[in-house]
């Protein structure tokens, strides 16, 4: 065969294979998603990472379900009723549901799931403490099950929609073992597991027998890319269709918006940022000083300039979609002269030093804290910024009460219930509350936990928000949007606030 004919054959082969590829493309539709972290295990009880949820929401179902509109809906349970003053919940289960391998779903699966979570296996993992209210789970019949609670937990129904409460297949786990399940997950969700390569990615396929209907995509590929610029480059080169938060920094939004093939989708998120105060020692012990610091910083200007408008001002340490947010509360205005008056009244000398502890790895928040420091300079305070490695700040500095006068806290409970923020931030003795102890606030926080009446609870949560704001326990900064980078070939995509992204309705062109 001479050179020319080899070349011709090669061309022909190429033409045939590429037309084959085109043909298969029209049948299969694959969405490739970039996620910043590999959780290492796909078992629901092993992790707290939101990036676990971003994938696993497609593989598993809970008894309840909460979609992008954040309304609680029936999931694997079709209905439920709260009995015995909230200490018992009876669920009626959906019939005819199977796991991806054909194993039947019934009340035994639910009992197995929660016995496992609260038992020896769950003890090794971090999810158990979140469901501590559950005492026992009692099978009434194949499709009826009772949850007996140690104490009423008003947020439990929401918690059943995610993370540790995902229903797992008993027979599959018992036959294959716990280790196998970590890397070969199985649930009842709209996509089934296909393959997993640690640190590289996980692939899912559509599960056409899902009780909610077959998903429109046939394949769902996740790639783990931690470096934001790499994820964006993959998006720009068309090899990734969707970059999920928390990846894209504010600074890269314009790069994506300028690209004709890409777009940015944002939505409100639960994540709120604050500089909390050391209320036990130093100048921030004085409430007047704390208020002065808040008056002294123009938070709206920070939102407009540094955050490019991708954030909203907050008056208490929660976002507008949090249950317990009081829309009548307004953030303290920017008023440097009032700030200086308050400082003078508190006897603070100009040039007094003040330390702000932050997580050092977040470029955007670095800028924010520098802006805060320069605003404080204007009212006569000499603020220094101390960056820590994130995990050191979170695990060793804050809980031990070793921070400066102010420290960064970013928080965003997926349950979107203010209890999951306020109780941990303000109740005496909690890990995230190293400095403050206020019996009145403790009583308020405890009282709302035993109330099942939604409206009454909301009133108490709102009063807690007002109370903490009156005492100026933190400088509420802003509520940052969840930012998604999306290729224009992706249709029907709805950004979700809580990272629990279910991609059943999405299609690709």
């Amino acid at each position: 065969m001479n050179k020319k004919s080899t070349f011709k054959t090669a061309l022909k082969t190429f033409a045939v294979t590429s037309s084959l590829a085109m043909a298969s493309l029209s049948f299969a539709s694959t969405l490739t998603v970039s996620s910043p972290q590999d959780p290492g295990s796909w078992d629901p009880i092993d992790t707290f990472l939101v990036n676990w949820a971003a994938v696993a929401t497609n593989m598993y179902d809970g008894l309840t379900y909460r979609g992008p509109d954040l309304k609680l809906q029936p999931g694997l349970a079709t209905s439920w009723e709260q009995l015995d003053e909230g200490k018992r919940i009876r669920f009626t289960l959906r019939e005819g549901v199977t796991f991806h391998n054909g194993e039947a779903f019934n009340s035994a699966s639910v009992k197995f799931t929660f016995d496992r979570l609260m038992g020896d296996e769950g003890r090794k993992g971090p999810q158990r403490s979140n469901y501590a209210a559950i005492d026992t789970v009692e099978v009434i019949d194949d499709y009826t099950i009772d949850f007996h609670l140690k104490a009423a937990d008003p947020v439990l129904l929401t918690k059943l929609a995610g993370y540790g409460a995902m229903i797992v297949p008993p027979k599959y786990i018992q036959e294959n073992g716990e280790d196998f399940f970590n890397t070969h997950p199985m649930g009842t969700g709209p996509f089934k597991f296909s393959s997993y390569e640690p640190k590289v990615g996980i692939k899912l396929e559509a599960f056409s027998q899902h009780w909610g209907g077959a998903p429109k995509l046939t394949n769902l590929n996740y790639r783990f890319i931690s470096e934001p610029s790499t994820a964006v480059a993959e998006l720009q080169s068309g090899r990734v269709d969707l970059v999920i938060p928390p990846t894209i920094p504010i600074g890269m939004i314009t790069t994506i918006e300028k690209d004709p093939n890409l777009t940015i989708a944002t939505t409100i998120s639960p994540t709120v940022y604050a500089l909390r105060f050391n209320t036990r020692d130093g100048i921030t012990k004085d409430e007047r000083v704390r208020k002065a610091l808040i008056y002294g910083v123009d938070r709206q200007a920070i939102i407009d300039s540094i955050l490019g408008g991708q954030a909203a001002p907050i008056a208490s340490f929660q976002s507008a979609i949090s249950f317990g947010e009081d829309p009548t509360m307004k953030p303290l205005p920017y008023d440097p002269s009032k700030a200086m008056q308050l400082l003078k009244a508190a006897g603070i000398q100009p040039g007094t030093k003040l330390q702000i502890d932050i997580r050092g790895n977040n470029a955007t928040f670095n800028e924010v804290s520098q802006a805060v420091a320069s605003y404080l300079q204007v009212i006569g305070l000499n603020a220094t910024i101390k960056p820590y490695e994130t995990n050191v700040l979170l695990n060793d500095i804050i809980p031990a009460g070793k921070t400066g006068e102010m420290f960064q806290q970013s928080w965003g409970g997926w349950t979107l219930d203010y209890d999951n923020t306020a109780y941990f931030m303000y109740h005496t003795g909690e890990k995230w509350n190293p400095y403050d102890s206020d019996p009145e606030l403790d009583a308020l926080l405890e009282s709302q936990r035993s109330i099942t009446d939604r409206d009454k609870r909301e009133e108490i949560l709102k009063s807690i928000a007002n109370y903490t704001s009156n005492r100026a326990l933190e400088m509420p900064l802003y509520n940052l949007n969840a930012i998604f980078g999306v290729s224009k070939r992706v249709k029907n995509f709805t950004p979700v606030p809580d990272s629990r992204l279910r991609l059943t309705d999405v299609t690709v062109e």
Partner: protein
């Protein structure tokens, strides 16, 4: 020779023991993995933490943990990752080949470019070819590699869309990471080859070889290159070790599923077993390469064998 090898081998074992001990101790100063695992949880009691510590095996005294780690080393059992419980050996067996393949291609690219260029520069010392090569290598040396990586991605992945911007996926995916690392090594190597070549070319036996009428290529590649090989091999060997360390940054930029990525995640996740294993493997490699360099000395220069 056997004596010489034995001595080197015992030294290598001692170095490895010292490294593992230091690593095992130092990593435990980074903080509590149980706190790390429950970071997202609101309320965590000390009892919850104790249960997690027990499950991870970090409630035992340090020397017991270290002993168990050493014992596992012999059967390639590094325990389980704290994040997700995957056996560490599984993670290593996937990422070690990825890193080695990348490092080897970097070395290959760099050596293939730098030896001819270095010789060319040495032979034409002071002429324009020498000047150009020296200026180019100076420019190569001054590039920060992460910046170079980002620029390459911008040009070849985003503008031209020829190469994949990240991941390990076939031959094309090797080009950018290998080239990025190689360009910086090459800059140093060219200068090294040039200077050791210049020194060798002064020697009398080169003059003799030329006087015998041997072709210039035989003189350069057979006589001169072999004689200046010792410093070059030492340097390339050490460079390979340094490369394994430096590859962390490049792996991160190119999302390469290698040891660097594994180590990076392990440090930030306080994943003791994974980090211990990665560092032990890396030091084994570096010590091993040094051992090979020593042995190669012996082969190239008979004088060393007898010392």
């Amino acid at each position: 020779m056997a004596n010489f090898l034995m001595k080197r081998f015992l030294q290598a074992i001692f170095v490895l023991l010292a490294v593992t001990l230091i690593v095992a101790f130092a990593i435990r100063l980074t903080g509590d993995p149980a706190l790390m695992l429950t970071q997202g949880a609101g309320s965590v009691t000390e009892a919850d933490l104790m249960m997690i510590r027990e499950a991870l095996g970090i409630n035992k005294p340090f020397f017991i943990q270290y002993y168990e780690f050493l014992k596992g080393l012999f059967v390639f059992d590094f325990g389980r990752s704290f994040m997700g419980g995957t056996p560490v050996a599984d993670l290593i067996s996937k990422s070690l080949p990825a890193t080695l393949m990348l490092a080897a291609s970097v070395m290959f690219v760099s050596i293939v470019i730098s030896i001819p260029l270095g010789i060319k520069a040495a032979v034409s010392k002071g002429k324009w070819a020498d000047q150009t090569i020296r200026i180019l290598s100076l420019i190569g040396l001054s590039f920060p590699n992460f910046w170079l990586a980002l620029m390459l991605v911008l040009v070849f992945s985003i503008w031209l869309q020829w190469l994949p911007p990240s991941g390990m996926d076939g031959f094309a995916s090797f080009l950018m990471p290998a080239f990025t690392m190689a360009i910086i090594l090459t800059a140093t190597n060219v200068r090294l080859v040039r200077s050791s070549m210049l020194e060798t070319l002064q020697a009398q036996y080169i003059m003799v070889a030329r006087a015998k009428g041997l072709s210039e290529n035989t003189v350069l590649y057979k006589h001169a290159l072999r004689n200046c090989a010792i410093p070059l091999i030492t340097y390339f060997g050490l460079q390979f070790g340094g490369l394994l360390g430096g590859i962390v940054v490049i792996e991160r930029v190119f999302n390469w599923p290698g040891l660097g990525t594994l180590a990076f995640d392990a440090v930030s996740g306080r994943d003791y077993p994974v980090l211990q294993a990665v560092i032990t493997i890396l030091s084994m490699l570096i010590v091993g390469v040094n051992l090979l360099v020593d042995i190669a000395y012996g082969l190239i220069d008979p004088r060393i064998r007898t010392e």
